[in-house]
Structures are given as structure tokens and as C-alpha cells.
Symmetry: C2
């Protein structure tokens, strides 16, 4: 292995070191008054209590799935024996990333509020550096886990696996393919953890938010984050468990998924060109990610502004950090690919750029469709004049229309990434797919800093909540709101990368699935015999299953568009995305209803609550959200695991490929629709609150609040979970390939 | 040709005769008081004015498209010369069906109201027989057009078409394939007309409905169909142009599409088995449809109840008619397939049954999710307690969840239809696809009566409006409401057939597309040479493009699941469904807003309007809806034509196939989601109006009205248009195959 590989573990440790450093720095700051400390502690305790509960439930799921994997590996012998372990570490590290990020955020909010009393810049520094802790923990733990497994598997694989040890001994190229597909299993662990975190956290936060808004703002007419509202602590807890812990686990999964799938495709694409070239293709995405970490740290240090900087200067400061990292990675990735002597390195670099530019493009379009500076959101605000129904209609309409350009951008990125890497040859499928995968790596390589700009938003939001509840001056709230708004602009780009990379990674995983199927067939002698016979009858270039090309495998497996199993699979995949959204939407609706009833009960039964004399029972509301989230997250999350397994057993490999294609195309678009509709409703409401169409308290404002409330689960529960869903379904399919090949009915 | 073919034109004339007969019967009834006549005339004139305007606009589109086709056929010579003519007749007959149906409906409403003064049964008879006029006109004109073209093309094709005349002379089997694919063009004419009718009518009706509800019910607090509401006539006109004329054109297209695509697949599936067998495979769906007409007429005559029949007895009477026709077609189709000596006739009959049962299954599930007798709609009603936002969340959630079982049902139908017809052999693709196509014919063969049960709903609804406005007794309104409700139950089954058959037909058209591509390649000598070379290098069984099998064509065209053009096409197809829905949703939103402003203006400016002393300006409201609909329908409809052409030119054949797959899987599911969410909101509102959760006027009712208003464009504009969209995109692709093959960039 090229010695440059050591950059990977080293830079991941570096990321963790700087995360620790920024955390310590933040902890030195004062947390403010006793009241501020008390409120922060309430939120922190609530969040930790939730996370403990969440991890308990997820732990049980992991135990069951691991046992299942162990049976498949050791009893049925249809799977690699390292799969159970890889699965566990993926889940563990992903959970850890969420935990660290959230713990930091809950310590940072009061400190940010306190610092914002001094100046906007001080508030920015603390919030942003705390967000950076999350960003660096995610990329650090992710790359660390990848390098440990990748390094370890080189030595241990084959030792336990009787079915593959012969192949490995005789063919080092094959060994690399098996290693990279095994590490994909750890991606499944990360995806599983991420889905639970996103769904559970998303239900918690939106149940609390919707409940607090409906009774507090609409019925009782008290402002947001008012301490008289019993759901207000739960609402702040929700920001932490949903927007911080949930997002951390989510992006941990995206980051690892993109790198691992590129590595797996690299092993295949360069299989015939000598082990060294093949190895370089495998480690290229890891090295790019490692350099991305260094550039992210550099970018984070560049984010600071002069005392008394204006909002615009602060935005420039934030953008500077992100831009430096992005330009840096564009430059360095070219040097890395050249240094590693990747075949057609210029083309592969072009693929990466196609991804990077596509991500930026989606971010810009997201901003257009969701910012109140542009026509779409303004039109939604305008539609409040005719009541809530037209607000909903125009929000849904606009959200649906807003999917068009992102799809065209991603489509262009896909085609260009394929063509650049394959030297404009559609027949060169392996190289083209490698190009698509590395485009996703391009989007996510500077995640360390882009996630920081995303994660500091909820911290600023919580700081605002703390300021409101502890009665700090109005100017503090204005500053934290400014920080929050500031974050929204940069976060749009981050979201573009997250959504775009999900689509590209899902396609890359589709290709890895075919590879895994070959390995699964190779484990079963009768299947090998059947393949060999087919191959010789059909003039394949080689009758060895391990050497079959992608087009040959597609022919053998009937992966074509007239196969009814593919068609039905595609229907089921599209449906899975809708079903999943429907279940999570209804979960939020139900959990919010219990919250509304609880808040109404407290207003009714606790005397003096609205005059500020009675103390609301905050803990009860946190408990209700926690219970609701835990109960409601199970069904949708388990379905995401169950559907690909069932499809595989009933319809076989071609059904699964249809499922994944239907899932990614519909899921990707549904995710954009929900994110943009939700964002546009949110900002239309804020636009009215700025004094347009009658401002706060007007009929228009009430209609806008209805839109925003509907948009909450759109943009923070169902929408973002879809990104994970489509990848988890792919990961499950890959890991269950052995089961599908051995037991499918059709 | 088998002499039994004559059954086809004969039964279509029979259908038209009975349509005329029922129309005359209805016209003999009294239209009631002068006021009733006046109101009916208002509605009729408004509807006719709209339709004239609509046809004018559509006529221009047809002229442009026809010229385009003529250039392709006579100048570029990349297309069959009969295409322009077939396209025109399809559009003409489809428009005619809508026109006759609507004209009948507008004459029938006052007569139904008048008869309902006497008894429920009298009202049922008139409304149902008038609905039957529509049903019979649609199937009669459809089958007539099919038989004329099919018969005529046998003699005239080849005469003008220099590129195919040689083939036709030498190979009668090839001639049949070319004839059947040419008749598909007339399907495109019908689809184009249908899309404009559905979209334009849908925007008109919902703009009027939403506008009337928002200002009338919610703001002014006056009941539905109150003559003081200026939008009330427009609302009733809307029922006619949207729910009657729009639905007529829609189902005309579905009916013809299913029959034509089955015929085209029959020509391919039986190509090697002698011309007689092949011809029988082609005419089988036509004969089944012809017998379906006779059975429908029989069923229509069976719908009548004793004087003083209860609601339940009336429902039984309606169901009896539908059931007799369905059981009859199940029996007769077996005899037909056996008589025609279709190879594996038992299997093909099994495929048809899989479709028929699937359609019934979807109907039952639709009823479960949208009727207030079951939990889902009850839960939405329950969620009104926490305001409009939770009503929307739970409606969207439930609608999304409701897609799961229909997809599983259609998936099962597809797989079973394929397996039965192919004798459980996945390699026997042509027979399997024929099975899928004939399953759609099974669903639609008794359209004559199922459409009658669907179309009589709006007639009853309009009769209720007329009764309300002309101040007839309360019991008349109760009776027309009962008729309307009655129709909803049977209509659920009809909708199941419409949605299910759309998915199956779209898949069948996908297969026809491949066939058309072969013909298009055969027109261009260089393309033929390229194919021949590829075929001999790749061990094809035959180097003649006309004789290439489906799997060989898939290999040659790279129609596999790792082709980036297929993947990007699938993304674009999914996106097209969302974009189309978004555009139509926003169109309704905008048109409704102008209606709201107009009604508010009239309330403000016309003195005494609310006390009943001033006369509202009904015509102005009709005009606003008409203008809004005409303006707004252009962009979404033209996009549906443009997207497949652009995809073909940029990404080539494989991109188009991806597009169609993405479009059908996402579009089908989006259509179910929107139809069911809209239906459930509607019935949740009605459930509250029955006195639950505080009944009319309560806060819960207001929240429910918001849900219903959002649901209006869901279920009556965007949702049903999607069925047409997915088929129109397929038809356009088929007709434009020549262009794609000749000029595609990739």
C-alpha cells in the first residue's frame, strides 16, 4: 500500500484533536447567570435523557441484527464472517459522533447567549467553533473507523472465511474487492444508527415544536420560547436531539458511505490493471477526504471577524472559510489523483469537479426557492391573504416545482462524472461508475467545515431560547437571531451537498451491489455451476464468476427494463419512499397532538401559569416527546430494513435492483420537495413577521403559521430521513446479498 | 381476418345507439320550474362557452403538432405517413366523447332534481341513465375509431410509405406490427386531448370550488350552492367541465390506450406463429371490449329499484349492474380467447383475471382509506381538534401510507399477469408483456357501466345545486346528496380500475416503444448497417433488425440498469411527475385567488347581495375561471409533450426508457397519494358535517374545510391528470421514436 495512506489515520486523529481543542476552548467561557445555567441544564438533561433512551432502543435492534448476521455468517455460511463486527462498529461510531456533537451543543448554547451579550462576533465565534466540534468529530471518527477496518482487514480477512480464503490466497486483486465490500457493512451499521437518530430525533423535535407553536403561539398568543409555555424546554431539547445529534449521525453516514462506495468501485474498476493501481484507486477517496480534513481545519480558523463587524461582513467571514476549503480541495485532489497515478486521472478529477459544482448549484437553487428574497417564497407569503388552504396549496405546488432544477443538475453531474471518468465511452461502465462515486466524495470532502456551518445554526437557535427564557435584553435575541439567519444561508449549500451526494452514493451502491452478488454466488457451488453453464452458452469472455464484467452480470441477472421483477421492484421502491414519509408524518402528527393536549392540560390545571406565577411542568413535556418519538420511530425504521430483505427473497436480485432504482429516484425527489416546501413556508412566515402583509398577529400571519407548522415535519423529519432511507436500503441489500442469492423465490 | 371481428364495429354502433336512446329518454322528462330551467341554462351556457374556448386552444396545439408530424413523415421521412391523420382522429373523437357527455349532463341536472322531488328512485334512474350516455359514448366512439383505423390500414398502409412498403409486401406478419404501432398514434391524439381536458377542466372546477368555498362558506358563512354566492354557477359549471367532460376524455384515452397497446404487443408476441394466430392475438382485446359493451348495456338496464327503495337497496341495484357485467366478462373472455385459439389461452385468461381482481382490490382499498366508515378518515377528522395544521399533516401522512397496498396489488397483478401468460417462464418476455397488457383490458372492458356509475355522481351533485338555488324543498337536497354518496361507493371501484389500468398500460406501452424503435431504425440505412454489424459480432440469432428479439434489442440499446442515461432518465421521469403536479397545484392556487378576490369584490360592491336583494354577476366568475384555466393549462400540458422529446434527443433511446420507467413508478404512486388524501379530507369534512366533533360551524369544521380545500386540487386536478401524463409521455415517445433514433446526441 502506498505510504501516503498514513495521512488517513493521522488526519482523522488531527480532526479529533482539534475537536477536543475547540471543545475545551468553549468550556472555558462563562455560562452566564444562574438562571441561564439552570435553563441550559434543563435542556442538557432532557437531551441526554432522550439520547440514553434512544440508544437503549437502538442497542436492542443492533443486537438482534448482529445475531442475524452471525447466523448467516457462521451457520448458513452465506456471508463474510467479519460482517457482524463491522456492522457494530459503524453503529457505535455513528452514535458516538451524534453524542459528542450534542453534548457540545448543549454546553455551548448558554455560553453563546452570554457571549452575544458582549458582541455579535463573540457569539459567532463560540457558536461556530462549537459547530466545528461536531463537524470534526464526524469526519474524524468516520475516517478513523474506515482506516482501522481497511488496514485490519488486509491482515485478518481470509483467516476465518473458509469460502473466500482460497481466492484471497491466489488473487490479491480479488482480496481487495472482498475487503472493500466488507467495509461497506460498517456503512450499514452507520446508516441504521443514522436512520433511528434522524427519525427519532425528528419526531421528538417536531412534536415539541408543533405542540409548542399550536397552543403557545396560536391559542394562547404568547411568543416563541416563552418560559410560560410548558413545551418550550422540550422544543429546545428537540433542536439538540434532532437538528444536532440526528444531523451528526446522518452526515457521518453520508460521509462514510460516499468514501466506502468509491473504494469498493475503485477495487472493481482497476481490477485488471495490477494490484498497486487497484489499491491506489481504492485509497484515493480516503486520501482526498484526509486532505479535506486538513483544509477544513484551516478554513475553520479563518472564520473570524473584526469587533463590530456587520451581518454582511460576518457572512463574508463564514463564506471565506468554506470557499478556501473548497478551492483547496479542488486543487489538492488533482495533485492527489496525479500522484497516485490513477488511470485517466484528469478525467477522474473532472468527475469530482462535476460533483463539487453540482453540489454548489443545488445549494444556490435551494436558496432561491426557500429564501424570502426571491419570488417563490414571496408568492407563498402573498397567498396567506386568502387563508391557510391557499398557503398549503402554493407551498406544495412550489415545493414540487422546485425539484426540477436540482434533478437536472444532479442528472448533469451524473452524466458528466460518468463520461469524464470513462473517457466519454458509455461501454466503460466500471470507470464511469467510479466517476459517479468520486463525484459524491468531492461534494463531501470538506464536510468538516460545511457541517460546522450547518450545526452552529441550532446552537444559535438554542442560545436565543436561553436568552428569551432567562430574560436577557432584546438585543441579545436580535443577535442570536442574526446568527441563526446567517447560518441558514451557508447551510443551504451544505444541504445541497447532502442531498446531491446521497443520490450519487446511492447509484454507486447500486453498482457495489452487483459486485457483492458475484461474491455471494461464488460461495454456493450449485450457483457457480449454473453461472458457468450460462456463461459458456452465451459467449461470455470468461466463465469464472469472479471475472464476469458488469454487462455480463446484467445479462445473467436479467437486470433489464423489460423484466417484470425489475418493474415491480421499482414500483415498490418508489412506494417505500412515500410509505416512509407517510409514517413519519403521521408519527409527528400523533406525537404533536399528545403534546398539544398536555400543554392545554397544564394551562388549565396549573394555576397562574400564564401570569408567570405558576411553574410549568417542563419535564412532563420532554417525557411525552421522548416516549412519542421512541414508540413512533420503530415501524418506519424497521420497514427500511425489512423491505429490501423481503423484496430480495420474493423477487430476487433483479427485484432488488429495481427497488433501489425506484427508491433513489423517487426518494431523492421527494426529499427535495419536502425540504424546499418546508423551508419556503418557514421563511414566508418569517417574512410576514418582519412586518409584511400585516405582520405578527394578523390573519395572514396565522395562515403562515399553519404553513410553517405543516412544513416542520416536511423539512426536519420526513425529508432528511429520506436521504438515509435510500442509502440504508442499498446497504441492507448489499449486506443481505448472500441471503437473496441463496433463498430467493424467483 | 376472423369474421368475429365484425362484432367490434357492430357493438360500438350499438353503444352509440343506446347512448342516443337514453339521451332521448332523459330529454322527455320535465326540467321543472322556470327558475330551475333558468339556472340549468346558466350552467349549460357557461359549460358550453368554456368547452368552445378550450377546443379552440387545443385545436391550435393539434394543428402545430400535426404539421410537425407531417414534416417528420413527408420531409424527413423518419415516420409513418399515416401518423398525422391518426393523431387528428384520436383527438377529435376524444373531444367528441367529452362534448356529448357534458351536453347530456347539463341537460340532466335540472331533470334529476325535478324527478327527485317525486322519489329517490326516479332521481337515480335519470341521473344514472344520463351517466350511462357518457359511458356508452366513450366506449362506442373509442371502439369505432379503433375498428375504422384498424380495418382501413390493412388496405392503405404501404401505398404511401415507401420505406415500409417493401417489407409489407414481403411479410404480412411485419405488416400487422406496423399497422398496430401506427394505430398507437391515434392513442397519442386521444391522450393529448385528454390531458388538456383534465388539466383545463380540473383547474376551472377547482378554482371555482375553492374560491366559492373560501369566501362563501368560510368568510361569509353561507351554505354551499347558495344563490347569493357569485361563484356558485361557476362551481356547477366546473363539475361539468372537469368531472364530466374531463373524465370522459380521460377514460376514452385509457380505454383506447389499453386496447391499442395490447393489440400492438399481440402483433409482436405471436409474430412467429403464423399470420392467423398473430391476427387473433391482435383482435382479441378488441373482441373482449366489444363483448364488454354488450354486457355493459345489459348491466345498465338491470339498474333500477322498486318505488320507495332504501339507500341500501339502491346501492344493491347499482352494484348488481356492475357485478353482472364483471362476472359476464370474466366468463365470456375465456370463451373468446378459446374460440380465437390464442396460444396458452388459459394463461392469457388468467392474466386478464389478475388485472380484473387487482382493479377490484384497489377499489376496496381506496374505499377503506377514503370513507368515513373506517379508521384513516376518522383519524383525520379527529385531528381537526388541534387545528388546520394537524389536519393537513395527517391527511398527507395518511395519503402517503395509502399508496402501499395498491402498489402491492398492482405489483402482484403485474407479476401474475406476466407469469400466467408466459407459462411461468421469465424468458418468454413477449408473451408475458402481452399478459400485462391484457390485464389492463380486463380492468377496462366493462367501462361502459363503470363509467356510468362514476359520471352520474357529478350529475346528482349538480342536481343538488340546482335544487338548492331554485329553493326546492330540503328533502330534494337530501335525496340528491344520497345519490351523490351512493355514487361515491361505486365510483371507488371505477377509480381503482382507472389507476390500475394506467400503470399496466404504461408498462405495455414501454414494450411497444422498443418495437417502434426497431421500425425507426429500419428506416435509416446507416442505422441498419450498424445494427447488423453489432448483431453478428454479438452472436444474435438473426442479423435482421425486424427479427431481433426483445432481449437482443435491450442489449443493443443498453437498456440496462447501470447505464447512466437510463438512471438520469429515471430521475427526470420521477421529477416530471412532481413538476407537473406542482404546476397544476399552483395553477389552481392562482386561479382560486383571483376567484376569491372577485367574489370579495362583488360582496363589497354589489349592494344587497348577501340579503338576497342584489343579483350577483355569475357570468364574470365563469369568465374568470375560464380564462384562468386556459392560461394555466398550457405550460404543464406542453411540458408533458416536450419532456420526452427533449429526453430522447439528448439522452437517446435508453434515456427515454428510463424516463418512462421513472415516470410511471413515481406518477402512479403520486396519483394514488393525491387521490386518496383528497378523498379522505373530503369525507372527513362530511363526517364532521354529519354532527361529529361539533358539526357545521365549529372550529373543527373550519379546520376540516381547510383540509378539503387543499384536497380539491389533489383529487380533481393534479392527481387524475397524472394517469394521463404517464401514458401521454409514453405515446409521445412512441410517436417520436423516429426523431430520437435519427437525431439523438448520446
Amino acid at each position: 500500500m502506498n505510504s501516503i495512506f498514513w495521512l488517513v489515520p493521522v488526519s482523522s486523529v488531527l480532526a479529533l484533536f482539534f475537536a477536543w481543542f475547540f471543545f475545551k476552548q468553549m468550556m472555558k467561557e462563562s455560562e452566564g447567570t444562574d438562571l441561564m445555567k439552570k435553563i441550559a441544564k434543563h435542556v442538557r438533561d432532557g437531551a441526554m435523557a432522550y439520547l440514553r433512551q434512544q440508544y437503549k432502543v437502538v442497542f436492542k435492534v443492533f443486537v438482534i441484527v448482529t445475531i442475524l448476521f452471525a447466523i448467516m455468517a457462521y451457520v448458513l455460511k452465506i456471508q463474510n464472517p467479519w460482517v457482524p463486527f463491522a456492522f457494530l462498529t459503524g453503529g457505535f461510531f455513528s452514535g458516538l459522533a451524534g453524542f459528542f456533537g450534542m453534548r457540545t451543543a448543549t454546553y455551548a448554547s448558554a455560553r453563546t447567549a452570554n457571549a452575544a451579550q458582549r458582541s455579535l462576533n463573540d457569539g459567532l465565534r463560540i457558536a461556530f467553533r462549537s459547530g466545528a466540534v461536531m463537524g470534526l468529530v464526524v469526519v474524524g471518527l468516520g475516517l478513523l473507523d474506515i482506516s482501522i477496518w481497511f488496514y485490519a482487514l488486509q491482515y485478518i480477512i481470509g483467516a476465518l472465511d473458509s469460502t473466500t480464503s482460497g481466492i484471497i490466497a491466489s488473487d490479491p486483486s480479488m482480496k481487495l474487492i472482498i475487503i472493500t465490500t466488507t467495509t461497506l457493512t460498517f456503512g450499514m451499521g452507520a446508516s441504521t444508527q443514522a436512520l433511528f437518530a434522524r427519525v427519532g430525533g425528528g419526531i421528538f423535535t417536531k412534536a415539541a415544536d408543533v405542540g409548542a407553536d399550536l397552543v403557545g403561539k396560536v391559542e394562547a398568543g404568547i411568543p416563541e420560547d416563552d418560559p410560560r409555555n410548558p413545551a418550550t424546554i422540550a422544543d429546545n431539547v428537540g433542536d439538540n436531539v434532532g437538528d444536532v445529534a440526528g444531523m451528526g449521525a446522518d452526515l457521518y453516514e453520508s460521509y462514510c458511505g460516499a468514501i466506502l462506495s468509491t473504494a469498493a468501485l475503485g477495487a472493481t474498476a482497476f481490477a485488471g490493471l495490477g494490484v498497486e493501481t487497484q489499491m491506489n484507486g481504492v485509497i484515493a477517496p480516503m486520501i482526498i477526504a484526509a486532505v479535506g480534513i486538513v483544509l477544513s481545519i484551516l478554513g475553520i480558523f479563518m472564520v473570524s471577524a473584526k469587533e463590530g463587524a456587520s451581518q454582511k461582513q460576518l457572512l463574508a467571514a463564514l463564506s471565506r472559510g468554506v470557499n478556501v476549503s473548497s478551492v483547496g480541495i479542488a486543487l489538492f485532489s488533482f495533485l492527489i489523483l496525479k500522484y497516485l497515478d490513477i488511470p485517466n486521472y484528469l478525467g477522474v478529477w473532472g468527475s469530482m469537479m462535476a460533483g463539487l459544482l453540482g453540489g454548489i448549484g443545488i445549494g444556490k437553487i435551494t436558496e432561491y426557492y426557500t429564501s424570502s428574497g426571491f419570488a417563490p417564497t414571496r408568492n407563498i407569503a402573498e397567498s396567506t391573504k386568502t387563508g391557510p388552504a391557499t398557503v398549503i396549496i402554493s407551498g406544495i405546488g412550489t415545493g414540487m416545482i422546485s425539484t426540477a432544477i436540482p434533478v437536472l443538475i444532479v442528472g448533469t453531474s451524473i452524466i458528466l462524472a460518468f463520461l469524464f471518468a470513462s473517457s466519454f465511452n458509455f461501454e466503460n461502465i466500471s470507470m464511469g461508475l467510479y466517476g459517479i462515486a468520486i463525484a459524491a466524495v468531492g461534494m463531501l470532502s470538506t464536510l468538516g467545515i460545511t457541517l460546522a456551518t450547518d450545526a452552529y445554526g441550532p446552537i444559535a437557535d438554542n442560545a436565543g431560547g436561553n436568552a428569551e427564557m432567562s430574560g436577557l435584553g432584546h438585543e441579545v435575541r436580535v443577535r442570536t437571531d442574526a446568527l441563526d439567519t446567517l447560518g441558514n444561508t451557508t447551510a443551504a449549500t451544505g444541504k445541497g451537498f447532502a442531498i446531491g451526494s446521497a443520490a450519487l452514493t446511492a447509484l454507486a451502491l447500486l453498482a457495489s451491489y452487483i459486485e457483492e452478488i458475484k461474491i455471494a454466488i461464488a460461495r454456493i457451488p450449485e450457483k457457480v455451476a449454473a453461472f458457468t453453464e450460462y456463461a459458456s452458452n452465451n459467449h461470455f469472455t470468461n466463465v469464472d464468476i469472479h471475472k464476469a464484467s458488469i454487462p455480463e452480470m446484467m445479462q445473467y441477472l436479467h437486470l433489464d427494463l423489460m423484466n417484470p421483477r425489475v418493474l415491480v421492484g421499482a414500483f415498490i421502491g418508489s412506494m417505500a419512499a412515500f410509505l416512509f414519509c407517510g409514517l413519519t408524518m403521521n408519527a409527528v402528527g400523533r406525537a404533536a397532538q399528545s403534546m398539544v393536549e398536555e400543554v392545554r392540560r397544564q394551562f388549565r390545571e396549573i394555576k397562574g401559569i400564564l401570569s408567570g406565577e405558576g411553574e410549568p411542568d417542563y419535564a412532563r413535556c420532554v417525557e411525552i416527546s421522548t416516549k412519542g418519538a421512541q414508540k413512533e420511530m420503530m415501524l418506519p425504521s424497521l420497514l427500511a430494513i425489512f423491505i429490501p430483505i423481503a423484496t430480495g427473497i420474493i423477487f430476487g436480485v433483479s427485484g432488488v435492483v429495481g427497488l433501489l432504482l425506484g427508491g433513489v429516484s423517487t426518494g431523492f425527489i421527494l426529499a427535495i420537495f419536502m425540504a424546499n416546501a418546508g423551508g419556503a413556508w418557514d421563511n414566508a412566515k418569517k417574512y410576514i413577521e418582519e412586518g409584511n402583509f400585516g405582520g405578527k398577529g394578523s390573519e395572514c400571519h396565522k395562515a403562515a403559521v399553519t404553513g410553517d407548522t405543516v412544513g416542520d415535519p416536511f423539512k426536519d423529519t420526513s425529508g432528511p430521513s429520506l436521504n438515509i432511507l435510500i442509502k440504508l436500503m442499498s446497504m441492507v441489500s448489499i449486506v443481505m446479498a448472500g441471503l437473496t442469492v441463496a433463498f430467493s423465490l424467483m
